[in-house]
C-alpha cells in the first residue's frame, strides 16, 4: 500500500528533485536488505522492489532540496525531554494471553523454527 502511494507521489517529483536524485538501488542492495530482514526474495520480487524502493528514496530525497547547512541536527521532533516513569510494577498479561496471538506455542513458550547459532567450527 505504502509503496503504491510512494510511487504515485514519486511521479510528481519536480525536475529539480530528479536532479538531486539519489542513485537508484542496485539488485545487490535489495538482496542485502532482504537478508538483513530475513526475507527471502524471488528474482521477480527483487526486480519489482528495486524499482519501488528507489521510488521511495526519490520521494524522501526531495528533502535534499532544502539547504540545511546552518541547521543543528535534531535528536527528536518533539520539543520535550526527560519523560520518565516511576519504577512501579504494573500487571501485564498472563502467559495464555501473551501466547494467544503466537503462530505456534509449546507449553508456556513461543515456538519458533530451530535456530542454530553454532557458526563455523574453528
Amino acid at each position: 500500500m505504502r509503496v503504491d502511494v510512494a510511487i504515485r507521489s514519486a511521479r510528481d517529483l519536480t525536475a529539480a528533485a530528479r536532479k538531486a536524485r539519489i542513485l537508484p538501488l542496485s539488485r545487490e542492495e535489495v538482496l542485502k536488505v532482504g537478508t538483513l530482514s530475513r526475507i527471502g526474495l524471488s528474482d521477480a520480487e527483487v526486480g519489482r522492489f528495486t524499482t519501488q524502493l528507489s521510488s521511495i528514496l526519490d520521494y524522501v530525497g526531495k528533502l535534499r532540496e532544502l539547504d540545511t547547512s546552518g541547521v543543528e541536527p535534531l535528536a527528536h521532533a518533539l520539543p520535550l525531554h526527560n519523560v520518565l516513569r516511576p519504577d512501579e510494577p504494573r500487571t501485564g498479561l498472563a502467559p495464555e494471553q501473551a501466547l494467544a496471538g503466537a503462530p505456534e506455542a509449546s507449553g508456556d513458550f513461543f515456538r519458533v523454527p530451530r535456530v542454530l547459532d553454532e557458526g563455523v567450527s574453528a
Binding site: 538483513l36 527528536h76 519504577d87 512501579e88 557458526g119
Partner: protein, 490 residues
C-alpha cells in the same frame, strides 16, 4: 618481531542488569524465577501501536554507575533503534544508545598482583535486554522463547583496550561487579545471567612504517557469563592469535582481516568463529522516535553523585591508614559494602577498630564463610556484637568464652549480657579462686611440672590449659599465667 614481543591488547564490553523493580520501558516486573512469559505486556512483546516510557530509576542507576566510574555526563543523551532479526527480539530492533550515551570517558582502578592498573572507560549506556531463546532438548526441529527478560534494563560498560592479560581482564570484570554491588546499581548474580562479558582480544605487533601500532585481527568473544570463562577464553584466544601470527606474520593483521565474532565452548575450552557480524551500518541505527532525549539537570547529577558511597579501593586504603588494619584484613572487610558498614559500626561503638576487626575476621567472617551467607543474613546487629566485644574488653568474660557466647547469640538471638548471666560464663578474676585452679592443675600434672623445671618451656602452655580447664574455661587467662609463673618460679 618475536612472539615474546607481542603485547596482549584487550578491551571488555560488560553488560549488567540494573537493580530495578520493573523493566526499562514498561511496568512488567523484573523476575528470574517466574513462569515463562508471565512478566510480559504489549510493550515488551513488541505489539504494534504501543509506547515505551523510560524507567526513571534505571536512568538514575546508570548515571550513578557512570559517575562512580569517573565518567562525564553529557548534556544530552538519546536512544536509538538497532535493527536485527532474531526470535528473542520481538520488535526486531533493540532500543540502545548509539552515538550519545549517558556517560563517557571514565576509568576504573583495578587491583592486580602487580599493583593497581587503570582501565579507561570509553562509555556507559543504557539499553534493553532481549528474551531467552532455548533449543528443544528432545531434538525437535524448533526452538522456544521466553520473553520475561525482554526489556530488562541493561547497562553496557565499554572499556578502552587498556588490559594486557587474561588475569587482568578477569580482575577488571570482578572489580566492576564489586563496584556495581557496592553502589546498589545491580545484584550481578552471574548464575542468573545478570552480568555478561564480551572481551575484544588482539595482539599488538609493533609499529608499522607510519609509526602507528599494528595489531592482529580483533576477536570479539560473545556472551561469556562467568569470570572463569573470561579468563580462560582470553588465554585461549591470545595463544591462538600468537600461533596464527607466527605462522603467517604478513597476513594475520587487523588491516587484512578486520574484526571477527567468536563464540566460546566452555566445556571444550575452545573459541569458534561465528557468522560474520553485521556491520554497524547494517544495524540501520536511527534515533528512537518513541523516546524523547534525556537532558540531565546539573543539580540532579550532583544529587546522584552524592549517593555514590565511598568506593572499595578508597575505603580499603582508609581502613589501613585510619584504623591501622593489616592490608589483608582491610581487603576482606571492604570486599562487600555490608561487611564494611557492619565493621565500622562495631568499631565506632567499642571505640577500638583493631579489636573490632579481630572479631570480624575471626568470628563473623568464619560464620559467613561456613554458611556461605551474606552479612545481612548473619542474624546479629552491629550493636549486639559491640556489646559482646565490650564485655570481653572490660574483662567480664575472657576471649575464648566470647567466641562461645557469639555462637550462642547466633543460635538464640539473645543479647550477650543475658547469655553470660544465664550460663554463668562470667570470668573468674578473683585471685584466690584462680590460685585454687592453678594448684589443682599443678597437683594433677606433676610430670609436666618436672618437664617445665627441666627446661621444657612448652610445658607452661599445657599447665595453662589444665588450669583453664579446671576453671571451666572461665578464669582470666592473664591471671592464670601470672600465678602459674609465680608458683613455678618460686
Amino acid at each position: 618481531m618475536t612472539a615474546a614481543d607481542l603485547l596482549p591488547t584487550i578491551g571488555l564490553e560488560v553488560h549488567m542488569h540494573l537493580k530495578t523493580r520493573t523493566k526499562l520501558f514498561c511496568g512488567c516486573p523484573v523476575r528470574y524465577d517466574a513462569r515463562p512469559n508471565s512478566c510480559v505486556c504489549p510493550v515488551c512483546l513488541g505489539m504494534p501501536g504501543v509506547l515505551p516510557v523510560m524507567n526513571g530509576r534505571a536512568v538514575e542507576l546508570a548515571v550513578r554507575m557512570a559517575l562512580a566510574l569517573g565518567c562525564a555526563i553529557p548534556d544530552l543523551a538519546k536512544w536509538d533503534r538497532k535493527h536485527y532479526y532474531y526470535p528473542d527480539l520481538p520488535k526486531n530492533y533493540q532500543i540502545s544508545e548509539y552515538d550519545q550515551p549517558l556517560g563517557i570517558g571514565g576509568f576504573l582502578d583495578v587491583e592486580t598482583p602487580r599493583g593497581a592498573v587503570r582501565v579507561g572507560i570509553t562509555r556507559v549506556h543504557l539499553e534493553e535486554d532481549a528474551g531467552k531463546l532455548m533449543h528443544d532438548e528432545r531434538g525437535g526441529n524448533f526452538s522456544v522463547v521466553d520473553l520475561n527478560r525482554t526489556g530488562t534494563p541493561l547497562l553496557e560498560i565499554v572499556s578502552e583496550p587498556d588490559i594486557h592479560g587474561a588475569e587482568d581482564a578477569r580482575a577488571y570484570a570482578e572489580a566492576l561487579r564489586q563496584l556495581a554491588v557496592y553502589l546498589g546499581v545491580g545484584d550481578c548474580h552471574l548464575q542468573l545471567g545478570q552480568m555478561r562479558f564480551e572481551p575484544n582480544v588482539s595482539l599488538r605487533i609493533g609499529t608499522g612504517p607510519d609509526g602507528k601500532p599494528r595489531y592482529t585481527p580483533i576477536s570479539e568473544i560473545k556472551n561469556l557469563n562467568s569470570f572463569r570463562s573470561v579468563e580462560r577464553a582470553v588465554v585461549f584466544e591470545l595463544a591462538r592469535h600468537r600461533q596464527e601470527y607466527v605462522a603467517n606474520p604478513a597476513e594475520y593483521t587487523l588491516e587484512n582481516l578486520g574484526k571477527e565474532t567468536r563464540g566460546w565452548r566452555d566445556d571444550e575450552g575452545v573459541s569458534f568463529l561465528q557468522r560474520s557480524k553485521e556491520e554497524a551500518h547494517d544495524y540501520r541505527y536511527f534515533p528512537e522516535p518513541d523516546l524523547v532525549p534525556f537532558v540531565p539537570d546539573r543539580a540532579w547529577v550532583e544529587a546522584v553523585r552524592a549517593t555514590v558511597p565511598e568506593l572499595p579501593q578508597g575505603r580499603r586504603r582508609r581502613f589501613i591508614s585510619e584504623y591501622g588494619l593489616p592490608e589483608y584484613d582491610a581487603g576482606v572487610l571492604t570486599a562487600e559494602r555490608g561487611v564494611a558498614d557492619f565493621f565500622e559500626k562495631v568499631a565506632g561503638l567499642v571505640k577500638d577498630p583493631k579489636t573490632a576487626s579481630n572479631w570480624m575476621m575471626q568470628d563473623v567472617m568464619r560464620v559467613l564463610n561456613e554458611r556461605k551467607a551474606g552479612i545481612a543474613d548473619l542474624g546479629m546487629t552491629p550493636e549486639a556484637l559491640a556489646e559482646l566485644v565490650s564485655l570481653v574488653k572490660q574483662g567480664a568474660i575472657n576471649r575464648n568464652k566470647g567466641t562461645e557466647v557469639f555462637g550462642k547469640m547466633l543460635a538464640s538471638g539473645k543479647p550477650a549480657g543475658e547469655i553470660v548471666r544465664q550460663d554463668g560464663l562470667a570470668q573468674v578474676a578473683d585471685a584466690g579462686a584462680v590460685e585454687a585452679f592453678v594448684d589443682q592443675a599443678l597437683a594433677a600434672n606433676a610430670r609436666t611440672v618436672e618437664d617445665y623445671k627441666g627446661g621444657k618451656k612448652a610445658a607452661l602452655g599445657r599447665l595453662m590449659g589444665e588450669a583453664m580447664k579446671a576453671s571451666g574455661g572461665k578464669a582470666n587467662p592473664q591471671l592464670v599465667r601470672e600465678i602459674l609463673l609465680r608458683k613455678l618460679g618460686g
